[in-house]
Symmetry: C2
């Protein structure tokens, strides 16, 4: 492999951020592509993923995984094509999605592969979004943690986002009344017109709390929380008996070190006998194919819609996470690569 | 009934408290005992219950039940003997426990009865504590909400209290390592020596946080929370993956109007995939007999120990809730009555 390829370009972590990682925390370096060892594959990467959770992967504070080390390739989901394989069950030409990092070529053990992509009729990038991390997070978070019942009012924060939009649509398909929380007229329209929310509320409006109350005349049965913070405080005040709050992300909180303060939740949970439960995609990753088997047919019929925000080239990666938190994307953010020797 | 009885003395709510109800919020009045209507019974009350939850029953803020009205008899569990019955299935001489209010005689519909007490070998007052509200709260909160597994570290706040002490003992009997949080040397000793906690930590000590950490070398799998507040904050920092937090009470918080602030919990719940869930006894009251059938044998063999704090006479009732919050009781607080015409 080495001989026929241009050098591999990689995005490495240069400095450990406090809070949201910015462009200056990363550096682009070159390294030779390493041939596969026993049980390894070489992947030519087509798309890199950019996800809010990546903030947590580089912060030093305790998290659900070890933080990325300084000088290491930034951890990331990616999709690409196997160019060389010394791993059983994986062959050159297979399209695979997995934890390949922010780089153009990935030489990784077969265990880094989450799934072989078997939807040749659908865009490869979907394996990172609606048929990948985001779709599966929405599917399992909704069906296994939030567990809505037909007729429930389901509130979703970051409702137009790549997870939230799937949650909203799946909940509506399950017979729920869906209310989206997002920001600005473009995203509120998108929520109503494209993702089928019964109502969409702008959390930046001074009338947010009363708008939300008006949008939930029967209270809130399920809250799929991607933000935490003041948005969640407003939702908590509206929960019904036996409400379920699935904590999926904390996008509105710039740093958890030290943890910010807010109204205590215990009395809401006690008097409403409500359940607040955190989950992460990785707990369900071994069931990714199951989620895809439920989601892909919905994508094909158009029942499940998605948006993508495609950046071009590895050089757009360092600033890409900060851009998510600046709210500049509309849809799942991915980076399209033209790996050396392939462009 | 009317003719042969002295007047009924009752404790009524005179003024609505903000926060903890004090003696001056109540008044003792006299009223004739009313004979039973169709479907009603007349109960000669033997013991009144005094419970921390009664604070919530008189506060105006939204709760799980309608607040007690001004001028109404204070809502309360009580145990007593049926003196007259026009209700099917209940006969004079039956000992019953139910929502009879703070009064010496209660003329109530049969639906006010939670259970006919069928443990003549055990003290009647236990029907209010270890075999009543407290025991059943501990039983269902632990087995249905917290769901400990053998080997789990289970932390209990108000560990020497009438709910906490049962939780700690049941968890130990279920093969868990139990750590109690309480205050002062008397209660910490009681936790270790009488209720079998592996460790007991004094939350009033300046070393509380490090003491708690040292008492939980393997982290915390289950937290049975009776306090909320700073005590819970310290426990949250120690939870393990998949921890379960059963929110049973909020004793450490003087008022929820407005809600006090504290460190936000979302990131703990998310990164640890933990569950925080509130519950109240009333959700399980229809299964009270089931809990008693599990608890009474443990009381008889001495495997489940309890303490009582017995006050005498109806006149001790008005200050009795405030006294709980002053921490003056050691064990389940009950009030023993000598109803007029019976003493």
């Amino acid at each position: 492999v080495e001989q026929r390829l241009a050098p591999n370009r990689q995005v490495v972590l240069r400095e450990r951020p406090v809070g949201i990682p910015q462009a200056e925390h990363f550096e682009i370096v070159e390294a030779p592509v390493r041939g596969p060892g026993d049980g390894e594959i070489v992947v030519r990467v087509e798309f890199l993923s950019v996800d809010p959770a990546m903030r947590g992967w580089v912060n030093a504070a305790a998290n659900y995984s070890e933080p990325v080390g300084l000088g290491e390739v930034m951890r990331s989901f990616a999709v690409g094509v196997v160019e060389d394989s010394r791993a059983a069950g994986l062959a050159a030409g297979d399209r695979v999605v997995g934890m390949f990092g922010w780089q153009e070529w990935a030489t990784v053990p077969a265990s880094a592969v989450s799934r072989v992509v078997r939807e040749p009729d659908l865009p490869a990038s979907l394996a990172l979004g609606v048929l990948g991390l985001n779709g599966a997070t929405a599917w399992f978070g909704l069906t296994e943690v939030a567990r809505p019942r037909p007729g429930d009012t389901v509130v979703v924060s970051t409702a137009a986002g790549s997870v939230g939009s799937v949650v909203g649509q799946l909940a509506r398909l399950a017979g729920c009344r869906t209310v989206g929380i997002t920001s600005g007229p473009v995203k509120t329209s998108l929520c109503r017109d494209e993702f089928g929310y019964a109502a969409a509320v702008d959390y930046r409006s001074p009338a947010f709390e009363s708008d939300l109350r008006a949008a939930c005349p029967d209270g809130v049965d399920v809250y799929f929380d991607n933000t935490a913070g003041a948005i969640s405080d407003a939702v908590l005040g509206l929960i019904n008996t036996r409400a379920r709050i699935a904590v999926c992300g904390t996008a509105s909180v710039p740093t958890w070190d030290p943890p910010p303060t807010g109204p205590r939740v215990e009395r809401y949970l006690l008097t409403k006998r409500a359940r607040m439960e955190g989950f992460v995609y990785f707990d369900f990753e071994h069931r990714l194919a199951e989620a895809v088997s439920r989601l892909a047919p919905l994508v094909r019929t158009g029942a499940l819609r998605y948006r993508e925000d495609v950046l071009d080239g590895l050089e757009s990666a360092p600033d890409a996470i900060a851009g998510l938190y600046r709210g500049e994307n509309l849809g799942k953010r991915v980076i399209r690569l033209r790996a050396g020797g392939q462009g």
